[in-house]
Amino acid sequence: MINPLKIFWGRNKNEDELSLQFLFRTFRELLIYNNKALDLMADMGEKLSGDYLFDKQYIESIINQLEDVVYKIIYDLNLITPKKHLHLFDVFEKAKIDIRGELNSQFTLPKGEYVYSISDLTKEMTDLAGEKMATLGELANRLDLNVSKGFIISTYSFKQFIEYNRLEELVAPLCEGKFNQEVMEKKAKELKIKIMQAKIPPEIRKSIHKKLSSCKNKSSNRWAVRSSAVGEDSQISYAGQYITVLNVPSSQIESAYKEVVASLFSPQVITYRNEMGIKQQEMAMAVGCLPMLSPVVSGVIYTADPNGLEGEEVIISACWGLGKIVVDGEMEVDQYKVSKTSPYTVLWQHIGRKTKQYALAKDSGIKLVPVPDQKQRISCLDESRMHELIEGAIRIEQYMKSFQDIEWSIDKNGHIVYLQARSLQLSEKNELDKNRLVTAAKNYPVILKDKGVVASRGIGAGTVFQVRTEEDTQYFPRGAVLVLKHTSPRMSKIVPLASAVVTDIGAVTGHMATICREFRVPTIVDTSHATQILKTGMEVTVDAEENIVYQGIIKELLTAQLIEKIPYEETYEFKLLRRLLKKVSTLHLTDPQSNEFDPAHCRTFHDIIRFAHEMAVRKIAQGIQPRQLSFIHSLTKLKLNIPLNLTVIDTGGGIKKGISSNEISLKELSCEPLLILLKALTAPGVWQYQPVNLDFKGFMSSFTSNRSSQSLPDRININLAIISKEYINLNLGLGYHFNMVDGNMSDDRNNNYIYFRFFGGVTEISRRTRRVKVLARILEKNDFSVELKGELIIARIKKIDRPQMEDKFRLIGRLIGYTRQLDVQLRNENDIDLFANQFLNGEESILVKPEDR
């Protein structure tokens, strides 16, 4: 960090100059820390691509580094804007405590809401919603599948419920496995009775009842109350050990809740946990309340035959009415073995004699009723439902990256509703086949190999669909392989539909890559020429584990990735990193214009650095105050072949060593961005000497505009460049408009950026506005992100490599020359495109409209 005292005492220069140098040095330092913080967050994101092996040490070390850098950013901001933002230190401490809590505990139940709608749940919320319900939310939100949309009572409610009734003393010893079997069973029974007698805290009751009345459950006001424990259905299967209470009237929901909660502590569950050695883990139960269906057909689909080994078939079981008969396996049902590939040929089927079915009882619960004779021996699944079911199941499987065991129902309207999805438990010998499956890929032509970087690990296959424009996105078919020139936030909306993504350009750490990981879509970016090879209509397999694209669809490879028992996304380290990344990188401060853009609304590290960066840039963008320039006569002037009258302040390495003259030439300059920019600006034909063809209206306006004539005296003087070897802050007042270029150019693309600001002019406002529109067209075409406000334009670009940066600085140089007197020529809106295109075609030296020549 810069020591202000050192700067003030260590050198013998005019005090104003020193403070200016200090300001810019600190600003540059802040920018470097800012980039470092963004890099660290990007690094965490990159590790989530699945291509890396990391452990908890890595997570700890990166969090330490991040804390360090964020602290320095706040410190530097308070140097630039003296003590204005001390409050940020408090925000920082608060965010830090939160992160530390997550990092240091093996597992803690997060604080959250008491209840959540299913439609608000994602897999990341497993700790709040339990495995089962979080997965259901994921099916609805990320896969757009039809699920029963109710709500959940969270694990946070569970914790409050236990504490409110002082049940911790009974719960803890049971969780820790302290008793022998006999005592344990006795204690478990006691606890169950206590739970059933316990009171639900008033504020939780209130939340539950609010949800009960607001959820769309018009048909019956009956609910299926389902267990959703933390850890259930994931690494260890508790299948069937927890209770589900069906057909519960709203008035009885509380007792059903308690019944489900109590099943967490049943002797069977405790024994099972002890045997599996998971005593140390906190036990917690979320409870799902889903509108009770009265289905026509229900059943289970396995996306692999648990006894077969090829993974090329699905197994479906179905019965009339509710699915209990299938799950319990007590009576005959329909069973089908169907090919997993379209047209989904039925390989084998057994239509059972279904004499009974479960239906909803009148008051509550369910009952067995007879099946009408004519329905007893017919298949309860027709072909089209079956196909729809298989397609849905395959989507879930691809997304979850493991074979699935899915419960479903079909309602009266013929709609499939998914009730539950979890990993299918397979026999051990399935692992042995992986080699054979992987070897099958050798028979397919490789069309891309080791080009680009894996941004999201996995394997996907389908038909290529190249998307060039935003309009193309409407036609993107589900399951296709998305091929793009650039990664782009605008394309993110179709990511969930894609089976894989391949791009020419893009970063692992970009927004779109993050979305790809979120939706678990296998992705390779930065291949440089995928769009030339992967043409729309081609069938390909994208192996974003090995970074290979094959021609053809390799079913074996798709199957191979499903064999993993626990996909890497489900491991402890991944979950921890993902949770932490979310904690540090979620951005709440997105709009700098908003009233909420202040320290009080900063919650995460990302918020803090976003805010600090914006405040620092604003401070610099205010430009140089005339009083800061009282010493300007003593500074170095740059000799140029154009009348720019440019003064240079070197903050380190910007001027060649041993130069002490007060007037230097370009040759003595070693600030590369400034050198490139000025070479472009002073090239023949760029700086316009001839008087421009000013028409009467434009001419008059230059004399009548009060604003311009008032601000005249200040503007002329401020042609100043604050530089170092890699850094440039250039303030140019040219006539009546103002250019500001702030930028950095190095070999590390992460430190590279340009911030360009252009404002004002002498002509009437409409012409000045047209001029910034010309600028906007040109800058956008050159990949800058552009903000336009009246006669002000702000353009930014960052993180591009040195050769590209050189081009951009050349462009800015040419633009400054080109637009200097352009406003007078822009007589109507049509001129905007005309002049923008003229520049883009490299014809800027002919600064006249064709008809004027």
Binding site: K47, D51, Y52, L53, F54, D55, K56, Q57, Y58, S61, K434, N435, V438, T439, E545, E546, N547, A560, E564, I566, Y568, T571, Y572, E573
Partner: protein, 124 residues
């Protein structure tokens, strides 16, 4: 490909074993993993492996000790040391004791696999 080569992996962090196993299995290698180095060393006395991948810092036994023991029994086994950034210097020392190479966490799975393949003599 000739006779399948065998690889032993020792790391007290289960995630390392799990992910390395899954990566190396795809390369048609025979894999055994151990989170307890004592058990691993015992197993090594029963069966020799072509490649041994071991973490440097483990609670039960130091990776350097594992290296020494294994080199005594089977000098031709290629030993690859996994290290954290903080212990790179120590890993370099391991090279003097006959380790084949070392790799610092976090690393790309493909990097380690290439290293293993090079060790076996099947460079990719």
């Amino acid at each position: 490909m000739n006779k399948t080569s065998s690889v032993m992996i020792i790391d007290d962090e289960p995630i390392v074993c799990k992910r390395l196993r899954s990566t190396l299995e795809k390369a048609n290698l025979e894999i055994e993993t151990f989170t307890d180095p004592n058990e691993a060393v015992k197993r090594f006395s029963e069966k020799l492996f072509n490649v041994l991948i071991t973490d440097l810092k483990m609670k039960e036994m130091d990776g350097i000790d594992v290296l020494k023991l294994v080199k005594k029994v089977s000098p031709e086994t290629k030993v690859i040391i996994i290290t954290g950034v903080a212990t790179v210097e120590k890993a370099k020392e391991a090279l003097k004791l006959g380790a084949y190479d070392f790799i610092a966490k976090p690393f790309k799975l493909s990097q380690l696999r290439n290293l293993v393949m090079k060790g076996i003599g099947l460079s990719e």
